[in-house]
């Protein structure tokens, strides 16, 4: 389901901050004393119900979107003139995902709503995935996604946007949200909905791996606010330092749909 990486320590283990990870490590004694499940127990896992049959399709969509985006992430212009902007990279990912999901006819079960420019500022999300209830088509589970780019790419874009390009409604949205960062706004948005709304910070390239796509997903980021931790980029990046396990996209989705209602879930994902 996922990919193991060799980072043995978890920086959150010794802190007071208690986001619940998907694969918590239990104390040595407890591990020895508790009755061990049979190795065949995994075979008795509840079968994926029909309502979750979108998961393989979701994986197909993500694979297509990630592959396409990677082409541009890894692109090197011999003359160093062409650089895909963060905005373009986000659009490449999202457009490819949407094209694929429409062609696979999965949007009546799992849809994707791209935010308007104003919503991106107000809510902090670039798009929202939603697993829909069958008869009503109301969302049962939502994942609000905010894309993070390599810092040098973001800096380049900021410098290239003339102030005049900032429309009136964008300015109003900024004024409405001026006291919070985009990270905080998205966490606030998800928290206001409840535990069935997840925040996913999607990294199109990381500092030590610029060509791959990673994510940190949680429905419990607000715990950081309670602990007076500031939700910013270093805080989110810190999750990768402590993680021993990276979920795949279908693994992430499976963890979400099988989670008990009201429980917290935090996991790291590799999308490419």
């Amino acid at each position: 389901m996922g990919q193991t990486i060799s980072k043995p320590t978890n920086p959150f283990q010794n802190s007071n901050f208690s986001l619940k990870h998907s694969s918590p490590s239990r104390p040595f004694n407890e591990q020895n004393m508790a009755p061990r499940p049979s190795i065949f127990s995994t075979l008795r896992r509840p079968l994926i119900t029909k309502t979750n049959d979108f998961i393989p399709l979701f994986n197909d969509c993500i694979s297509a979107a990630a592959s396409r985006t990677q082409e541009y992430l890894l692109f090197k212009d011999p003359e160093d003139k062409l650089h895909a902007s963060p905005e373009v990279l986000t659009q490449v990912f999202l457009m490819t995902y949407i094209s694929q999901s429409v062609s696979l006819n999965m949007t009546d079960r799992f849809n994707c709503t791209a935010m308007t420019p104003e919503q991106r500022i107000l809510l902090g999300a670039d798009w929202v995935w939603a697993m829909l209830e069958k008869p009503t088509k109301n969302p049962r589970i939502q994942i609000a996604v905010q894309v993070l780019h390599l810092p040098d790419r973001e800096d380049a874009e900021e410098n290239s946007i003339p102030q005049e390009a900032c429309s009136e409604s964008i300015q109003i949205a900024k004024n409405e949200s001026s006291n919070k960062t985009t990270y905080e706004r998205m966490v606030d948005f998800c928290t206001s909905i409840g535990k069935d709304c997840y925040a996913l910070f999607l990294f199109l390239g990381k500092k030590n791996d610029k060509g791959n796509i990673y994510g940190v997903l949680s429905n419990n980021f607000e715990a950081a606010i309670g602990k007076c931790n500031k939700i910013d980029r270093p805080f989110i990046e810190n999750f990768f330092r402590g993680s021993r396990y990276l979920h795949t996209p279908p693994g992430m989705m499976q963890a979400i749909v099988t989670k008990k209602e009201g429980d917290s879930l935090t996991l790291m994902v590799k999308f490419s």
């Binding site: 709503t113 919503q119 107000l122 900032c166 409604s169 300015q171 109003i172 900024k174 006291n179």
Partner: protein, 252 residues
């Protein structure tokens, strides 16, 4: 720009209202019943500030009654039958003219689903007008009007004006809520009433125009009863380069 402050509703509206007021008048914002502020005219960075008044309006009501379509019809004169459920909240800006005054409407489109209630009600604060919408082909949406009205009373201020809109009046064959029932409920709640169709562009502009009229009337009433505004004493300090209002009423 105009910012209206209601003393009576200060308790419920304080957080957001003061944030708006403090940008122009840090300490005097809650001193008056309805307090018009005029910002200087001219272009400022990041948007067109060249207007006389700004009204914050909200469209509320059950999911799928047509709030977003209604706003699109009004702001962009566009309509699509494809249903896309609004996530959280969104808004559009439209400028209208009334008696030679430029009124900028900040129109907030809210998601009707219950799961977004926390975030949408946060935006009620500071709103001067509401379009409370139901769907004439959906009894449940009509039955929820009373609850939405209570939400306005709970989260908004007393002076906010409300127009009840029975949308989708183009779908006569599927009608389950009569015009009379809609009108009667509006009377009981003290709201103005229109039946509308975003699809056929029926009464869309009229609904907004009536709401703007109601807000202007309310402003005039408040200014009439507030001598501080007409004498210009403390209000003058709150204006920027424009002179204080000398006449009662907002002239809009």
């Amino acid at each position: 720009m105009l910012v209206l402050i209601s003393r009576e509703a200060a308790s419920s509206a304080r957080a957001r209202a003061t944030s708006e007021v403090e940008r122009t008048a840090p300490s005097q914002g809650l001193q008056h019943r309805w307090l018009p502020l005029r910002m200087r005219k001219g272009r400022e960075r990041g948007g067109d500030q060249n207007f006389d008044y700004m009204f914050k309006l909200l469209i509320i009501g059950n999911s799928s009654v047509g709030k977003t379509s209604f706003l699109f019809r009004y702001a962009d004169d566009a309509f699509t039958s494809a249903f896309v459920s609004t996530v959280g909240i969104d808004f559009k800006v439209k400028t209208v003219y009334k008696n030679d005054k430029r009124i900028k409407l900040q129109i907030w489109d809210t998601a009707g689903q219950e799961r977004y209630r926390t975030i949408t009600t946060a935006y009620y604060r500071g709103a001067m007008g509401f379009i409370l919408m139901y769907d004439i082909t959906n009894e449940e949406s009509f039955g929820a009007v009373q609850d939405w009205s209570t939400q306005i009373k709970t989260y908004s201020w007393d002076n906010a004006q409300v127009v009840l809109a029975g949308n989708k009046c183009d779908m006569e064959e599927e009608r389950v809520v009569s015009v009379d029932n809609g009108r009667l409920l509006a009377e009981q709640l003290g709201f103005e009433f229109f039946e509308t169709s975003a699809k056929d562009n029926v009464n869309v502009k009229q609904t907004f125009e009536r709401l703007v009229d109601l807000i202007c009337d309310k402003m005039s009433d408040s200014l009439d009863t507030d001598p501080a505004v007409t004498t210009g004493a403390p209000t003058a300090k709150l204006t920027d380069s424009a002179p204080p209002l000398q006449q009662s009423g907002c002239n809009c």
